[in-house]
């Protein structure tokens, strides 16, 4: 009987080039995404809280103002107020006006009987930023041309026993 000849297994080389191309493209994409995300959020130490709700960023452009410890107000890496010129609010006013008229959704308010912005402005400030800087933003928000009335205060992750909840649970003596 005729024996079957064993066929030699052929070495098949896979072409890795397209896969590597794709993977590199993905990495570049992620790098860019991270860069764009970080433009909104400055490196700040936020106060902690337990009653805060988890932040779910809305789609599209989000109105955020970062306030540094020295009072510098930053949006997308640009300064809109610096404590060196304490009475110069021109840039901040323009920014808030822009938020109120382009980014934020506007609705008719039954109390003031006007179309006013209904999206919140997120304020991110350092734990030890003096409140009067944040009060300045709030004051400018109340301007007749701006009328932003909903605000959100950004808070950080709870790390140690420093929140109000900890005080309530343990008392101030501990």
């Amino acid at each position: 009987m005729a024996r079957r000849r064993k066929s030699k297994s052929e070495e098949v080389k896979m072409d890795m080039t397209p896969m590597i191309d794709c993977v590199f493209q993905l990495i570049i994409f992620f790098f860019l995404i991270i860069d764009l995300q970080n433009q909104d959020l400055e490196d700040l130490v936020l106060p902690r809280s337990d009653k805060a709700v988890p932040d779910e960023p809305p789609e599209g452009v989000r109105p955020i103002i970062n306030v540094h410890q020295n009072g510098r107000m930053v949006y997308k890496l640009h300064d809109y107020y610096t404590p060196d010129a304490p009475k110069n609010f021109v840039k901040l006013d323009k920014l808030l006006y822009g938020f109120a008229h382009t980014i934020m959704k506007r609705e008719m308010d039954p109390v003031v009987k006007k179309m006013i912005p209904y999206d919140p402005l997120l304020i991110r400030a350092d734990e030890f930023t003096e409140m009067h800087y944040i009060a300045k933003i709030m004051e400018r928000c109340g301007d007749q041309k701006v009328m932003i009335w909903k605000i959100e205060l950004a808070l950080g992750e709870r790390k140690d026993g420093k929140t109000a909840a900890d005080f309530i649970k343990t008392g101030s003596k501990k």
Binding site: Q37, E152, A165
Partner: protein, 174 residues
């Protein structure tokens, strides 16, 4: 003999081992996929008064609970241990006023908030019985962290609506 020519060497076909590179690239890809882009963890919502300031519309009278935060001691500015260009405040102390009544300890302040939160009043807008809205006012040298702490406390006590009133100016620096 000098006339003899050297044969050109044949270029050897060398296969580059792509495995380590692919490993590294995949690890990078997994890192970026797992990374949480959202660095902001939580937020507290608050409102700014719509019916004050330059606005000419009539305000609906409503009883509010006024909380004022005043600085007792600014504290010592200690450089951030993580090398950031910021400081931590050590020994920073504030006191709270509910109406004219001052509070220096957190326990009695929280107890009063709890008591006040149980007093409900009818809200014309929501058509519900709710605790009074809280208005927070701040004095000189009060920080963003002090304010978020009070909001956290108020939310624990049962208050729902937080608004901001006027604030003090800039702290006089030494």
């Amino acid at each position: 003999m000098a006339g003899r020519k050297k044969k050109p060497k044949e270029l050897a076909e060398t296969d580059m081992d792509l495995t380590p590179m692919i490993d590294v690239v995949f690890l990078l890809l997994i890192f970026f996929l797992c990374m949480e882009f959202k660095t902001l963890e939580s937020k507290l919502s608050a409102n700014l008064p719509k019916d004050v300031g330059v606005n000419t519309t009539e305000a609906v009278p409503m009883e509010k609970l006024d909380i004022r935060i005043e600085q007792v001691r600014w504290g010592q500015e200690v450089k951030d241990p993580n090398g950031r260009t910021r400081y931590n405040l050590v020994g920073h102390k504030v006191k709270w006023y509910v109406g004219p009544q001052p509070f220096r300890d957190k326990e009695s302040f929280y107890r009063l908030l709890q008591r006040e939160a149980k007093i409900l009043q009818f809200n014309d807008t929501t058509q519900k019985n709710e605790p009074k809205p809280i208005t927070i006012k701040t004095g000189l040298g009060v920080t963003y962290g002090d304010v978020t702490w009070v909001i956290d406390m108020a939310k624990y006590a049962g208050f729902e609506t937080i608004t901001f009133g006027g604030g003090g100016g800039a702290r006089k620096k030494k």
